[in-house]
Amino acid sequence: MDDHTAGLVLDHVEIRQAGQVLVQLNHRVKPGEVLTLMGPSGIGKSTLLSAITGALAPVFELSGRILLNGRDITELPPHQRHTGILFQDPLLFPHMSVGANLAFGLAPGGSRQNRQARVEEVLAEVGLEGYASRDPDTLSGGQRARVALMRMLLSDPQALLLDEPFSGLDASLRTKVRNLVFERAKACDLPVLMVTHDAEDAKAAGGEVITLGV
């Protein structure tokens, strides 16, 4: 992979609904960089993210290509794309323990003990030692956000998509979780595409900001 294709490339991506253009974007997010998309509600920011994860509803039409580290993922089924996503809600699976949630994200392979050890290790990294057997619904908002982040990172993503990920958290937590996410993404050298309403988020991200719909 040469330097020109590394990262997340949106190559003349255009999403239309009933013939009307909703979003257009031609951009490359390099590994370790953050691109922030801002703009009023209903402008199609989240729709663009669904196009990248492969969850675009059939009412939309997509043209252009989406490339991830040189791999054309435009037509791939969602589970083969390696595009990690975090929403405003942590969306931990309520029927699984915290540890089972993490193990669900962890790429397959390895012995049971190894996987368990990896889960414990990751929990310790974010200050949640011994939380593996806990019910996710008994965790605080900040703890859930951390588990959701680590679950996503365990699945070995090649890009990170953030859909208003910090708006559910109160002000003090917000900064902490935000820093953790960006720090981790940087450490893993991931291209990050963030959708937000919040100028603070955009500033903290430190990368380029594109405002849609103006």
Binding site: S50, T53, G54, A55, A57, P58, P77, P78, H79, Q80, R81, H82, T83, G84, I85, F87, D89, L91, F93, P94, H95, F104, G105, A107, D135, P136, D137, T138, R151, M152, S155, D156, P157, L161
Partner: protein, 565 residues
């Protein structure tokens, strides 16, 4: 992926075939002999003789009048009770009580409810024992024709107590979808009385969503067999009961008359649906013009009290009826007008233990098989629609409701005749297929909303984590939907347990479930045996609901997110 692509699209087609195939085949099997074509009896049509024969039968017009009159009255009364209780009380604490009282009663099989009512209102029943001899001076049961009265009043009552819970629960679901509470608050703030506010602003939208269930109730009331055998008059009986009687006659020629009767029955139901539809429009316009005049109708205390009273009466009749079955099943010697038997004994339960055990296992096998297939097909269809971006349209909804809208007596006799003509075996397997026709729509209706309301972002996250569509289904969606899935299973079992006509006709009279056994006891008047079978039938329908509540609570006892939501 390749495997699931080839597998899932078959399921909707297969489901549609199992849903509509027996109905259409049954209609063909009715039309042919209806027009004199029955090669098995050496008769070749077409001819109008079966209809002439039917019209010459002296009971014809009384039977038609009875079917139409009782059916339309039961549906109209049920809808009125439901609308009045909702208009007067929806959202209040009293309404919460009514809802909690009536929802478990939805699962009580028709036959058990009808027997229970019969035990209450019969001349020797509890109501008369309560006031005798004190108020009446009667030492012996009075010679009054209350059960099976010629006007079908007790039949109407028996149908109403089963339809009110059904329509009420359907309406409550619909009200949640349309935001009824807020509409009501807005209209009340403009000075409308509660009942007027609800009738003008909430009822029209709710009715739009329960129209199909209301029509199902109308079609069912006009053609029901088991309740009419128990509570309806016998000379003449309703047209549907008469059709079933002709079907069981060893003389094959009576099948022609039965087929002609079935076609008339179908015509009556279609005609009633059309008239109902017209009345709907008319009443809708009337309501709109009343609303336009701005009538506030503030003084509605009487209507509210009446609505609550009727709803409570419905629940009370059902409860006391079941209690009556219970007491009779344990009753020793019990003379009139004592309120309770002289002694309680297990004798009736012992006496019927062999027969009832066989009926229990037959019922369980049939319900288990029908519900297993029904659940598999329903989940397969929902998942296939999900993966291929399909949506059940309004027309699809009609197809789903079709087997419930076409009277059972219009196509089941034909299905039996057709099977005999083609040399197909009637019996347990065929009964399962016939039950599936009625189980499938109810499983789908029960599962549809929870399935759709599931947060799809869970699937997006799971797939982003690298989970395949199959893994998302098995590891995430199905476990999260455990409670609604078990509820759908319970609904399916209750539907199967309650089926009388499909079991009787498609079983060729050889498949004996709790329901066929209980209904067969109706003519004999052995109240203790009826109590035993009626209770077993009720238990078979209610126990799965209890399990559907208990099992998820146990499995997810440490999962707050699934317990509360």
């Amino acid at each position: 992926m390749a495997k699931s692509r080839s597998f899932f699209p078959i399921l909707p087609a297969l489901t549609l075939l199992l849903l509509l195939g027996p109905v259409l085949a049954g209609l063909v099997g009715t039309i042919l002999p209806g027009f004199g074509h029955l090669p098995a009896a050496g008769l070749y049509g077409p001819s109008l003789d079966p209809f002439r024969d039917l019209f010459d039968w002296p009971g014809f017009w009384p039977a038609v009048r009875l079917s139409v009159g009782t059916g339309v009255a039961a549906a109209a009364i049920s809808l009125t009770i439901v609308a009045t209780i909702l208009a007067g009380w929806a959202g209040t604490r009293a309404f919460g009580w009514v809802e909690r009282l009536l929802s478990p009663l939805l699962a009580v099989p028709h036959a058990a409810a009808a027997f229970g009512l019969a035990f209450l209102i019969a001349p020797s029943g509890w109501l008369f024992r309560l006031v005798s001899p004190g108020l009446t001076g009667w030492q012996r049961p009075p010679d009054l024709l209350i059960l099976q009265d010629p006007m079908g009043l007790s039949l109407i009552a028996g149908m109403v107590i089963k339809e009110v819970p059904f329509l009420l629960l359907m309406s409550i679901a619909a009200m949640g979808q349309v935001g009824g509470a807020r509409r009501l608050a807005v209209a009340q703030s403009m000075g409308y009385g509660r009942v007027a506010a609800w009738m003008f602003t909430v009822f029209p939208v709710v009715y739009g969503r329960i129209r199909l269930p209301v029509l199902v109730v109308l079609a069912w009331s006009m053609s029901v067999v088991d309740v009419a055998v128990i509570l309806g008059p016998s000379t003449p009986s309703t047209l549907s009961v008469q059709i079933v009687r002709w079907m069981s006659d060893p003389d094959l020629v009576f099948r022609l008359r039965a087929a002609a009767g079935a076609l008339v029955q179908l015509g009556l139901v279609l005609g009633a649906v059309a008239v109902w539809w017209g009345l709907e429009r008319l009443l809708g316009r009337l309501g709109a013009s009343l609303a336009h005049r701005g009538l506030r109708l503030g003084a509605d205390a009487h209507i509210r009290a009446g609505g609550l009273l009727l709803a409570l009466l419905t629940a009370l009749l059902l409860f006391l009826g079941l209690l009556g079955l219970f007491v009779w099943s344990f009753a020793g010697f019990w003379s009139f007008p004592d309120l309770l038997p002289d002694q309680f004994t297990l004798r009736s339960w012992h006496r019927d233990s062999v027969g009832s055990w066989q009926a229990v296992s037959e019922t369980a096998v049939i319900a288990g098989a029908a519900v297993a297939v029904g659940l598999f097909l329903t989940l397969g269809c929902l998942e296939a629609e999900e993966r291929h971006g399909l949506r059940l349209t309004q027309r699809g909804m009609w197809l789903l409701y079709l087997p419930l809208l076409i009277p059972q007596t219009a196509f089941l006799p034909g299905l039996q005749t057709l099977m005999l003509s083609l040399g197909l075996e009637t019996g347990r397997g065929a009964v399962v297929v016939a039950h599936l026709v009625f189980v499938l729509p109810y499983i789908r209706l029960s599962l549809q909303d929870p399935w759709m309301q599931w947060d799809r972002r869970q699937a997006v996250v799971a797939k982003a984590l690298g989970a395949s569509p199959d893994r998302v289904l098995w590891r995430v969606r199905l476990p999260m939907l455990l409670a609604p899935i078990l509820t759908a299973v319970a609904v399916g079992i209750a539907v199967s347990v309650g089926q009388y006509l499909p079991t009787l006709l498609i079983g060729g009279g050889r498949v004996e479930t709790l329901t066929t056994e209980a209904v067969a006891l109706a003519s004999g008047g052995d109240r203790r045996a009826i109590g035993v079978f009626g209770l077993l039938q009720t238990a078979a329908a209610l126990l799965p609901f209890a399990l559907a509540l208990i099992v998820p609570a146990l499995v997810w006892r440490n999962r707050k997110g699934l317990r509360d939501g």
